[in-house]
Point group: C2
Chain length 310, copies 2
């Protein structure tokens, strides 16, 4: 099966209480693609970088099975750059620098070879660009998922609602779900968001796990693993989305039951991502490690019914 | 099997965004006893009230199977009183009034009939009183659980550590676990607390569920149900403890696997408690409702292993 993703491919400079990086490669689509590449090949990437982006990193992508035909390289321009610093407990961060550069007027051109993509992951990006991408797909995909953030709810809500109407799975965090729905209560928030169009909603709760909601009032609560070490949360959400969609594309099953499993896969991949800075950990995973991690998630929530009350 | 509990039996006046009560009956031991009474009878109560405590409520307790031989009624004195107001999202509260009254010099006298109690739930109370209770038990119980709060960590840490050393299960919330251990990281916090004595640790995370830790690195994550309505969180933690210990006393099985089920039972009972003000909801539950609620918790976290990665 074929997975297409759009999103930023960029430079990040990250500071957490556990260390600091120079410019390293990052961006939503980078994390999505590397994460998904463990489950499905090739990943079709639609993105834009400047000519400052290192060839060596592009080769790493290709080596991981990421198709770069849809990656535009703009001569004489610079790649998107974000610099941020995390708070003490990693649960909040301050953006220090955002340089849009090539992302400012990104026109998502979809190669003909990508046109038959069955699974589409719209990474966090301007809703206008996400919408344009969907409009340019000539065949209806099996499943479209979208990630977004509060910035777009504040600054481009109308476009965001337009694209949300057209997708199958929305992936956001709990704060964003509350903002988008206007309801603090997550169950009601989920219901309102499902009424906006998507058939499924994933609410990521960071250290508290993730929830999956279906149109028919189905809910699954995926626990969070208690990791020994969290060094850098950057890209965890994108890595989650990549694992989630990679697994769905691999198994070609979009039932609620299989989406629950995809949530475990996404959570597993995200739990690896935060163990090192940037994409580092996503470059070195073994199948044994991945299976062991998924099993740990399954075990963590394993329960059988208590003795019935009578 | 026999369950003994000590703790406050008191008056509360509660204000939440959804309503306000006059003086209603509350107190840790009240919630514990009513909750546990669904699973085991009689519950042996060690507590103290003033002569202002209404007979009608004592009769309700007896009716629920709560043994009041250990309840001291102090003539001419007043019962403990707490008044509090919850914040908008119910995740914090301000104490407006605390009148210790009879609780100020509570001497926990244990009736001879209570001496063979196999299960002991030390409700939130001064660690000195909790310690005295244990010293006065002539037979070693099968299992002792203890609930406490940050107030005692701030004001009576030495005594608290002494009693924690002697118990089997500590039940606290995430903030308290962080304070007690001095470690923000919950996994490390749990390990440190288990090194203080208890064989098991329950960390309650409110709307994010609860965690159970065992000495041999076992962990279970119990999800939180997304309730339609939460009116009043008062007593939820005590109700959890009551269901948890009531179930263990009923099943007489203190294995990690059975404690996981007890976590589901405790969470189910707590989820009922918050649906109405005070103990109201705990007076009216049917076995059908309880079984349905436990099943909902089990279903919420139900997952099977994703397709193995190869």
């Amino acid at each position: 099966m074929s997975l297409l993703t759009i999103g930023s491919v960029a430079f990040d400079a990250i500071e957490t209480p556990f260390g600091k990086t120079d410019k390293i490669i990052g961006g939503a689509a980078t994390y999505i693609a590397f994460s998904a590449s463990y489950f499905i090949n090739p990943i079709r990437l639609v993105a834009v970088v400047g000519d400052d982006f290192p060839i060596s990193k592009l080769e790493k992508m290709q080596h991981a099975g990421i198709d770069l035909e849809g990656l535009q390289i703009k001569e004489g321009e610079k790649s998107f750059f974000w610099q941020g610093k995390y708070h003490k407990n990693l649960n909040a961060r301050d953006t220090l620098i955002t340089e849009l550069n090539v992302l400012g007027n990104f026109d998502p051109i979809i190669p003909d070879n990508y046109q038959n993509s069955k699974y589409v992951m719209l990474g966090n990006l301007s809703p206008k660009v996400q919408l344009t991408t969907l409009e340019r797909l000539q065949q209806k995909p099996n499943l479209i998922a979208l990630d977004t953030m509060n910035f777009w709810m504040d600054n481009a809500l109308e476009d965001l609602l337009k694209v949300i109407e057209k997708i199958d799975v929305l992936i956001i965090n709990d704060e964003e779900a509350r903002q988008l729905s206007g309801d603090y209560h997550l169950k009601k928030a989920a219901q309102r968001i499902l009424n906006m169009g998507p058939k499924h909603l994933v609410i990521k709760k960071g250290e508290h796990g993730a929830l999956l909601f279906g149109k028919n009032h189905q809910v699954y609560s995926c626990p969070a693993l208690l990791l020994d070490e969290v060094l850098d949360p950057t890209g965890a959400g994108d890595t989650f989305a990549g694992g989630f969609m990679g697994y769905l594309a691999q198994t070609e099953d979009v039932s609620f039951e299989n989406m629950k499993k995809a949530l475990v896969v996404g959570s597993s991949m995200a739990s690896f991502c935060v163990e090192k800075f940037g994409i580092e950990r996503l470059l070195e995973l073994s199948s044994t490690e991945i299976n062991k991690r998924m099993q740990a998630f399954v075990n963590l929530g394993q329960i059988s019914m208590p003795k019935k009350f009578d």
